[in-house]
C-alpha cells in the first residue's frame, strides 16, 4: 500500500487573516510540502495540472524534476495530467525524460480536466473529451512501447517513422493511473489496458464511487489482467487533524466554510458525515481511512489532500508531521494485516522491471524448446 499527498496548487486567500500568497510563495510552498512528504515517510507526491488562475502548476514535469533532484525515495506523480488537451507526443517525451532524471521514481495519473475553456484554449473541443482521452492515450501507450511509430488518428497530425525520445528507462514505461470521478468509459479504458484506476472520491458520497470502482474491477477481470480484487485502485482522502478533535474542528471551520470547492454550502458536520473529509483526531483519520477498504475493497494507493483552501504552509507542515507520526505507521500496519496475499501492491519501476525480466527469461526458455 502506497500513501501520499496530492495537491491542486490553488492560490487561495487565507480566510482567517486575509493574506494571499504570491505565485512564487505558493510554488515554493508546494516544493516544501513535497520535501516534507519524503521526510515523514510518505511514498508519493502528486501535483495537479491547471492552465488558469488561481492555480499555479501548469508545468508539472518541471516541478517534479526539481523535486526529484532533492529527494531520494519519493515517487513523483500527477493528479492529473491532461490527456485531452496535451499532445500525447509531448507527454511521452516529458515523462520519459523525468523518469531518467528521477531514476524511475515516476508515474502519472491521466485525467480530462475540470475547466471547460482549457479545451478551446488548446485547440480542442470539449464535446470530444472522451474520444480525445481514448485516442491520445492509445498513441501515448504505443509511443512508449514501440521504437518506431507510424500513426494516424482523428485529432492529431499523423506520424511517420517517429521515435519518441528518450526511450522509457530500462524499456519500462511509467505506470499509468486513469483518474475519473464520473465516467464509466474511463474505468473501462483503465481495465482494458490493465492500468490503475484512481477515483478521487473526496467531494462526493461513497455510493457513487463504489459503482465506478466495481465496474473497473469487473472489467479488469474480463480483460484477463487478474481477478477483480487484484485490480489496481487508488483513492483520495482529505483530512485536518489536531490531537484534540474539537481543536481540529474549530481551527478548520473557517477554511471549510470558505473553501473554493464546497464552501458556502453544506455544514462541516454534514460534509464530514457524507464524504471522506475527516476533521478530528489522528485516531478518527485512521478509522475513516480504514473504512475505505470496507467500501471499495483492498486498494493500492491512498493520496491525501492537505494543502488547499488557503491553509498556510506552517499549518500544512504541522499536519504532515501529525500524519507521519500518528497516522501513517498505524495505517501501514493495519492495511498490511488486512490485505490477502494474492492482492498485489501498486506497481513501481522496480516491480515492473522485474516482471519484464521474468517475461524475457520465460521467452528465452520457451525459445530453447
Amino acid at each position: 500500500m502506497q500513501f501520499g499527498i496530492f495537491t491542486v496548487g490553488d492560490v487561495t486567500t487565507d480566510p482567517t487573516n486575509g493574506t494571499t500568497p504570491s505565485e512564487f510563495e505558493r510554488i515554493k510552498a508546494m516544493v516544501a510540502i513535497a520535501l516534507k512528504a519524503e521526510e515523514i515517510g510518505l511514498d508519493v507526491f502528486a501535483t495537479g495540472e491547471h492552465h488558469n488562475p488561481p492555480f499555479v502548476p501548469s508545468s508539472p514535469t518541471t516541478m517534479l524534476g526539481y523535486i526529484a533532484a532533492r529527494t531520494e525515495r519519493l515517487i513523483l506523480s500527477t493528479s492529473t495530467t491532461l490527456i485531452t488537451t496535451n499532445d500525447p507526443v509531448k507527454i511521452a517525451e516529458d515523462f520519459a525524460m523525468l523518469q531518467h532524471l528521477a531514476d524511475g521514481r515516476v508515474d502519472l495519473m491521466l485525467g480530462r480536466g475540470n475547466t471547460g475553456p482549457v479545451y478551446p484554449w488548446f485547440g480542442q473541443d470539449i464535446r470530444m473529451g472522451i474520444p480525445l482521452a481514448i485516442e491520445n492515450y492509445a498513441l501515448l501507450h504505443e509511443l512508449w512501447r514501440k521504437d518506431v511509430v507510424d500513426w494516424e488518428g482523428r485529432f492529431r497530425t499523423p506520424l511517420q517513422g517517429f521515435t519518441s525520445t528518450p526511450r522509457p528507462l530500462d524499456g519500462v514505461p511509467p505506470f499509468v493511473w486513469h483518474g475519473s470521478i464520473r465516467s464509466p468509459e474511463i474505468a473501462e479504458q483503465a481495465a482494458y489496458y490493465g492500468d490503475g484506476f484512481f477515483a478521487n472520491n473526496i467531494f462526493w458520497p461513497k455510493e457513487h464511487f463504489m459503482r465506478l470502482i466495481g465496474l473497473y474491477r469487473q472489467r479488469y477481470e474480463h480483460y484477463g489482467h487478474g481477478s477483480a480484487d487484484q485490480a489496481i485502485v487508488g483513492l483520495g482522502g482529505q483530512v485536518f487533524m489536531r490531537k484534540n478533535s474539537q481543536d481540529a474542528v474549530r481551527e478548520f471551520r473557517p477554511y471549510f466554510d470558505n473553501a473554493p470547492v464546497y464552501g458556502h454550502g453544506p455544514s462541516l458536520e454534514d460534509f464530514t458525515e457524507q464524504t471522506p473529509l475527516t476533521v478530528g483526531s489522528p485516531q478518527q483519520v485512521i478509522d475513516k481511512t480504514l473504512s475505505f477498504r470496507e467500501s471499495f475493497g483492498d486498494y493500492q494507493r491512498q493520496l491525501f489532500l492537505m494543502d488547499h483552501a488557503g491553509l498556510p504552509l506552517k499549518i500544512v507542515l504541522e499536519q504532515l508531521d501529525l500524519l507521519g507520526e500518528e497516522v501513517l505507521p498505524v495505517l501501514r500496519k493495519e492495511f498490511a494485516d488486512r490485505r490477502p496475499a494474492h492482492v498485489p501492491s501498486a506497481p513501481t519501476h522496480a516491480s515492473l522491471l522485474a516482471a519484464k525480466q521474468d517475461n524475457n527469461s520465460e521467452a528465452v526458455i520457451a525459445g530453447n524448446h
Binding site: I130, P184, E188, L212, G265
Partner: protein
C-alpha cells in the same frame, strides 16, 4: 397487481398553500380514476419547501443530501409524476426549476407527467405552456395535453366549466398513460458499458 407509483412535486412556499391544494386535487383525481379501472396506486408527495436548503447545497457541493436523494429517487422511480408550481415572474418558481436542475437530465425520459400551476390571476396561465411544457419537453418526459392552472377565482368556480372539469380531464389523461405504462419495468440503473474495442474502432471510423 403491484401498485403504480405516483409522485407529486409541489413547489408551494406557504403552509397551507394553494399549490399544494392543487397538487392534492390532481393526485386525488388521478387516484380515483385509476381506482375506477381497478389500478391500485401509491401516492408520494415531495414538498420542495422542506428541501429548499438541501437543493441549494446540492448546487454548491455537487451531490444531494440523503433527504434530497430520497426525494429525487421518489420522482425518478415513479410511474407517473404530478408537478405543480406557483407562477413567479412569468415562469415556474426558482425552487421548482432548481429541483429539476439537480436531477439527471435523462432521468425523466418517457415519464408520464401532469403539469399544474397556481397564481393570483388567470393572466399568467399560459406560463404552463410557454415555460413548464418546454422544460419537460427538453427532459423528454411525456406531458399530458391538459395542463391545469388555478387562479384565485378558480377556487370559487362552478363544477361544469371551472377548475374541477380541467382537473378531471387532465387526471384522465395521466391515468390513461399510467394504465398503459404500468406494465413497464422499473428504470434502468446500470452503467452502460461500451466495450473498449468498439470505442477505439469508432475513432478509426471502422
Amino acid at each position: 397487481m403491484t401498485a403504480s407509483k405516483l409522485a407529486v412535486v409541489s413547489a408551494g412556499l406557504t403552509e397551507p398553500s394553494s399549490t399544494r391544494l392543487l397538487a392534492d386535487r390532481l393526485s386525488e383525481a388521478v387516484s380515483t380514476q385509476l381506482a375506477e379501472q381497478e389500478y391500485p396506486v401509491e401516492v408520494t408527495v415531495v414538498e420542495l419547501r422542506d428541501l429548499a436548503v438541501d437543493i441549494a447545497n446540492n448546487f454548491v457541493a455537487g451531490f444531494p443530501s440523503p433527504k434530497l436523494a430520497e426525494a429525487i429517487k421518489t420522482v425518478t422511480e415513479a410511474d407517473g409524476l404530478v408537478a405543480v408550481t406557483p407562477i413567479f415572474t412569468a415562469s415556474y418558481s426558482g425552487l421548482f426549476k432548481s429541483f429539476f436542475d439537480v436531477i439527471d437530465n435523462t432521468a425523466l425520459i418517457g415519464k408520464p407527467v401532469l403539469l399544474g400551476a397556481t397564481g393570483g390571476t388567470a393572466r399568467h396561465s399560459l406560463a404552463l405552456e410557454h415555460a413548464l411544457r418546454p422544460m419537460f419537453s427538453y427532459l423528454r418526459a411525456v406531458v399530458v395535453p391538459t395542463a391545469v392552472y388555478a387562479a384565485s377565482e378558480d377556487w370559487a368556480s362552478g363544477q361544469e366549466t371551472g377548475l374541477s372539469s380541467r382537473v378531471a380531464r387532465a387526471a384522465g389523461e395521466l391515468a390513461g398513460l399510467l394504465t398503459g405504462a404500468a406494465a413497464d419495468g422499473g428504470p434502468a440503473d446500470e452503467d452502460v458499458i461500451i466495450p473498449f474495442e468498439q470505442q477505439l474502432a469508432a475513432l478509426r471510423g471502422n
